[in-house]
């Protein structure tokens, strides 16, 4: 099945927040951002007389709590006094037109006392600016004396802007029953909860409705919430509908990104087996906790990537700096954990003279191996994928050797990247989903779930599950908006788990309805076995159309609505011991990437990538390919291209799309994907989740370029991302 939204997408008819026709009396809001990164707000005023000016809202106008921190309450909606990052909201301008709002905002007068900003996580760490407690995962006993090769180094990873094409936005309408909130959020229930908190009202007075997102990638998991809260606050004060859409410049300036990390490691091996790995992670959390503690935790879960390392210690600190609060981004800390171990293996390879892929293979996780946090692996396809990649590697190697022999000014290289990514929210509580299946008396069906459609195709997958259960065709079903009056207490659409959680919940509802319909057929017709297929129900050598059955059931007073629920079984994690079984299962795969470096110009080209991916039983190859290719692009972009830069005063330098570049059509390599995998009993329809894991194939891009440089000459280059043309050229001449 193709993505059910694609027809409206290609014709421009798909509706996003900014496309919704506004009510006549709608007002337009803009956020006034702090222009310093650290200090105290002394004065803020608008003394102009613009005829479209309605209100300037500041912290003192908030009727409820001025607090939006979701894990740790350390973030104000509007600054009451302290400024912790440049772009922090200090006021909201409400005006009769958007253009006037911009003109008014330009004339807001703000005075500050400015303090020195911290932007480096190590500086923050050294001055004691830590969010929450440090975390430590360990297993075995590290004995360096047992190792025959030991290396240690520092690794630095840049951040990454989400760059969802649709910027943050919300439209809030006052209604008889409270507030109707249309939001571009991955987490409708968070929006609902925080609006209630900020306005000092109960959650049932806030209805949040999400049609679709023009991309999220984690950027709208937690950070859509303040935007919606500010619009709702403006509604509360003006009693008029308020629209708040961030333009790109504001969105880049005000919102958090993927966390930059710095790390120190020491790794040791004995005859190709890694027997000791000690790593410290310094996460650049930005100015407040946001989701950083959870992101930090996943860095630890994935610090050994796909390798079995018996003696291991990882310590992680979430460091508070004066940058916008960094937040969820596809991979959620996993990529940072994986990049460091890959860098360590690369360095081990360099020192020992043994190719990295030999070390990778020698230490690859097998089914039955235990991760440092205690979970024993099962249903991994790593070794199967690896053996397929090895065949491809031989072809790559031959091509590279020949090319490098014949070219003076260009050099090719390759790298292999295995991935093992745990599927589930690591916060066990969040692993729940719900669905509401309504069958109307004509047989048509409305399906509401807690899943937010943001391009990943979750609605299509859940629809597939429903129609395979009822045996009806897709055109009988409408996927409803995600709405907090129909799907309550939802978990965010995140952690690659959305279709599992909400799909299983949908099947739960379907099963309840099927049991009721079967009972009806047994009661009325003494039906034996009942089968739902091709828009019909078949029993006792006769059949009824689905629509006839439903009409009959309605007349017989059968309840034709069902609420379904699902919570992932058998997962737990003990944060005291840092041990448990946090994941339902693992998605695995292996990729091999080839790249060419231009020795003269320091530029590079990504030639091709082959991916062997374990998707369980593939439930939708079109969507699965899309997820792999899209995640790969983001992973490659993070590793090589996307250069997020702040100056020492906390000012974003890559502050527009003219200075922050993401992959374009020419950047991407040729991509070949082969699916392997077996039925996964915990995945929807036997599949494995695919949203985040393939992003980490992009790590191969970094090492392919690095190896291409190395194939030209010995290099002494710090492990620092992104590996831009500047770093390449300076590396070649270092």
């Amino acid at each position: 099945m193709k993505n059910i939204d694609s027809i409206s997408h290609v014709s421009g008819k798909s509706v996003y927040v900014d496309d919704i026709p506004v009510l006549d009396n709608t007002l337009y809001a803009l956020i006034v951002p702090a222009t310093i990164a650290h200090g105290v707000l002394k004065k803020i005023e608008y003394t102009g007389d613009h005829s479209d000016f309605v209100r300037m809202i500041t912290a003192s106008d908030i009727p409820g709590e001025n607090q939006i921190g979701s894990i740790i309450p350390d973030e104000e909606l509007l600054s009451s006094q302290e400024i912790h990052f440049m772009g922090q909201a200090i006021a909201i301008i409400v005006a009769k037109s958007l253009n006037s709002a911009y003109m008014i905002r330009d004339e807001v007068h703000v005075e500050y006392d400015e303090y020195k900003a911290i932007t480096d996580p190590r500086v923050a760490f050294n001055s004691g600016n830590i969010i929450g407690e440090s975390r430590k995962f360990q297993c075995g006993d590290i004995v360096w004396a047992d190792c025959d090769t030991i290396v240690s180094d520092r690794v630095d990873m840049g951040g990454q802007e989400h760059l969802y094409l649709e910027t943050h936005g919300s439209y809030v309408i006052p209604t008889e029953r409270g507030y109707k909130v249309i939001s571009s959020t991955q987490s409708p229930s968070s929006v609902q909860k925080m609006i209630a908190r900020v306005l000092g009202i109960s959650m049932h007075l806030v209805e949040v409705d999400v049609n679709r997102l023009g991309g999220g990638f984690g950027g709208k998991e937690d950070q859509a919430t303040p935007i919606a809260c500010m619009a709702a606050l403006a509604v509360n004060i003006t009693d008029r509908p308020v629209k708040l859409i961030l333009d790109r410049i504001d969105d880049l300036k005000m919102t958090g990104k993927r966390h930059p990390y710095s790390a120190d490691y020491k790794i040791g091996m004995k005859s190709n087996k890694i027997i000791a790995y000690d790593v410290i992670f310094y996460q650049n959390a930005g100015a407040s906790a946001d989701l950083s503690p959870a992101v930090l935790e996943r860095t630890l879960f994935h610090a050994t990537n796909s390798y079995y390392i018996p003696n291991f210690k990882a310590t992680a600190y979430s460091c508070r700096t004066n940058l916008p609060p960094n937040t969820a981004f596809r991979g959620f800390g996993g990529p940072q954990g994986m990049f460091v171990i890959e860098a360590a293996i690369d360095k081990l390879a360099e020192k020992s003279g043994i190719p990295a892929y030999v070390l990778q293979e020698a230490n690859l996780m097998k089914n039955g191996d235990k991760f440092p946090y205690g979970q024993i692996t099962d249903n991994l396809m790593l070794t199967d994928a690896w053996s397929k990649i090895k065949t491809i590697k031989n072809v790559y190697e031959e091509e590279i050797e020949q090319f490098n022999h014949n070219n003076k000014y260009f050099s090719k290289g390759m790298a292999i990247m295995p991935i093992t990514f745990g599927i589930s929210f690591t916060n066990t509580m969040m692993n729940q989903g719900s669905a509401l299946v309504n069958i109307y008396q004509d047989g048509s069906i409305g399906l509401s779930t807690g899943a937010v459609e943001m391009g990943q195709g979750v609605n299509t997958r859940i629809l597939q599950a429903l129609i395979s259960s009822f045996g009806v065709s897709a055109d009988r079903v409408k996927m409803e908006t995600t709405n907090t009056t129909r799907a309550i207490n939802t978990s965010p659409s995140a952690a690659s788990s959305t279709h599992d959680l909400n799909g299983w919940a949908t099947l739960d509802a379907c099963n309840q309805l099927i049991r009721r319909l079967e009972k009806l057929l047994i009661d009325e017709y003494q039906a034996g076995s009942v089968e739902f297929i091709n828009n019909r129900v078949i029993f006792n050598d006769r059949s009824l159309s689905w629509d006839e059955l439903i009409q009959f059931a309605f007349t017989k007073r059968v309840d034709l609505a069902a609420h379904g629920y699902y919570c992932t079984p058998d997962i737990y994690f003990d944060k005291e011991k840092e041990k448990g079984h946090p994941f339902a299962y693992y998605t695995t795969g292996v990729a091999i990437q080839m790249a060419t470096v231009d020795i003269i110009r320091g530029t590079y080209k990504l030639d091709k990538i082959d991916i062997i991916h374990d998707s369980g039983r593939v439930m939708n190859s079109n969507l699965d390919r899309g997820q792999i290719e899209g995640a790969l692009a983001q992973g490659l972009g993070w590793m090589l291209l996307e250069d997020l830069q702040y100056d020492d005063n906390g000012r974003l330098l890559s502050n527009a799309l003219s200075t922050y570049k993401i992959p374009d059509i020419n950047f991407m390599p040729d991509i070949k994907i082969e699916f392997i995998g077996a039925n996964n009993p915990l995945g929807l329809m036997g599949s494995k989740s695919i949203g985040e894991p393939p992003l980490m194939y992009g790590i191969a891009g970094y090492f392919a370029v690095r190896n291409a440089m190395r194939n030209h000459k010995n290099i002494d280059m710090a492990y620092k991302t992104p590996l831009t043309p500047e770093r390449i050229l300076m590396g070649l001449f270092s």
């Binding site: 993505n3 694609s6 094409l165």
Partner: protein
């Protein structure tokens, strides 16, 4: 309501707002993509603007192939891709090249490449885009309808070329200005070869320049596809790129090496200066308030030419350093040479001393190596978001080496 055209960045860098602009020329309408976010309404006066709504059709093979290959995920960028591919089909352009101005954050582009290829395979055997529903039936009447529009030229105090820089920098300021559009003035849109030079009207767009046969006889225009993107080149003018006076302006650097002259007028009298007298200091140009450029002249010298540009992303990015080199040799001895460099000084820079040294030397590695050491004394790069000054210094020398490699290849 036409909601399909999306706002993604408002600076011409994402392509979500791409629309078609049709211009009537000799009873035929020429369609090109533009970024509508940088295009004031006045600039489409008398022209046919086509949004995604004007292209959608249940049998449109671009849309059908994008659906079947999964070339759309969140959908926000998709209308822009459909519009760009439509223009590529109309103009028989390489489909992937036509997408150099469109950004997608979801798909990784592979499905889009496959869809594009399928479209072009299906178009191989036909010129009739109406029959294939690439464009709807009403397009057949557009030439007549455009012909019926009485075109009234507007006059104003602020001259806008394509506006692709001005509307990034000063969108709201320009709302209150009286604008005059140089691309509307057919007197300013020409490329005419003379005996000694090629004369280029100031309203000439970058696309018209790049696709012009007289220009491609002089230089390799393939290299110029590294400049901006298809939709930006379709509306941006060469003269506008000069007047914007960015120290890294690609056409400034190219035209400096080509020894271009510019003709300036204040409506009472004209003056001609060499382009290297035009850039005075950072963003300061040799042009008075009441003056405008009306023509650019490129001498028709027998030269070898090369343009180099390195940026973080190869396409649709601003260079860290760019450089152009035009050289005339006899028996491999350099008789004349001009090397320019952008991103290494407060203005687009002509490397005079470097060139002076190279005269009468052999076109070889030794000469270019020495040239590098002189070039680094002529420049004053600063560290910024596009690179450190150390990098820019090294990169310029590398680009000078690249010039040699490329120029030797032309022998």
């Amino acid at each position: 309501m036409l909601k399909g055209t999306k706002i993604g960045c408002r600076e011409g860098d994402c392509g979500a707002c791409t629309v078609l602009l049709g211009e009537l020329k000799n009873n035929e309408v020429i369609y090109k993509t533009i970024t509508s976010c940088l295009t004031p309404l006045g600039n489409v006066n008398g022209r046919h603007v086509v949004t995604i709504e004007g292209l959608s059709h249940p049998d449109n093979i671009i849309q059908l192939n994008m659906i079947s290959t999964g070339a759309t995920q969140c959908g926000f960028c998709t209308p822009g891709f459909v519009v760009s591919l439509t223009a590529a089909a109309i103009n028989k352009q390489n489909p992937v090249e036509s997408l150099d101005g469109n950004i997608c954050r979801c798909t990784g582009y592979n499905s889009i490449k496959i869809a594009s290829q399928l479209v072009f395979d299906q178009l191989q055997d036909t010129d009739n885009l109406l029959a294939k529903n690439i464009v709807p039936q009403y397009f057949a009447n557009i030439p007549d309808r455009l012909g019926d529009i009485k075109f009234v030229k507007n006059t104003g105090t602020t001259i806008i070329g394509g506006g692709t820089d001005l509307y990034v920098q000063k969108q709201r300021v320009l709302l209150d200005k009286q604008l005059e559009f140089s691309t509307h003035n057919s007197d300013l849109r020409y490329i005419i070869p003379d005996k000694d030079s090629i004369r280029i009207g100031a309203g000439t767009t970058m696309s018209e320049f790049i696709s012009n046969k007289h220009i491609s006889e002089l230089i390799d225009t393939e290299q110029l596809k590294l400049i901006a993107s298809t939709p930006v080149r379709n509306i941006a003018t060469i003269a506008g790129n000069l007047v914007n006076a960015s120290p890294i302006g690609d056409f400034s650097v190219i035209l400096l090496a080509l020894n271009a002259k510019i003709l300036i007028t204040n409506s009472t009298k004209n003056r001609e200066i060499s382009l290297d007298e035009f850039f005075v200091s950072y963003k300061k140009i040799n042009l008075q308030q009441d003056e405008m450029i009306i023509e650019i002249k490129i001498p028709k010298d027998t030269i070898k030419f090369n343009f180099e540009k390195v940026s973080k992303r190869m396409y649709l990015d601003i260079a860290s350093v760019n450089s152009a080199c035009a050289v005339y040799t006899e028996n491999n001895i350099i008789r004349s040479i001009r090397i320019s460099a952008g991103g290494v000084y407060e203005i687009p820079l002509l490397l005079r001393e470097t060139a002076e040294y190279m005269i009468a030397k052999e076109l070889n590695e030794k000469t270019f190596k020495e040239a590098c050491s002189i070039a680094v004394k002529e420049i004053k790069p600063i560290s910024d978001v596009r690179g450190s000054k150390e990098y820019k210094t090294l990169l310029l020398q590398q680009l000078i080496k690249a010039h040699l490699i490329q120029l030797e290849g032309q022998q």
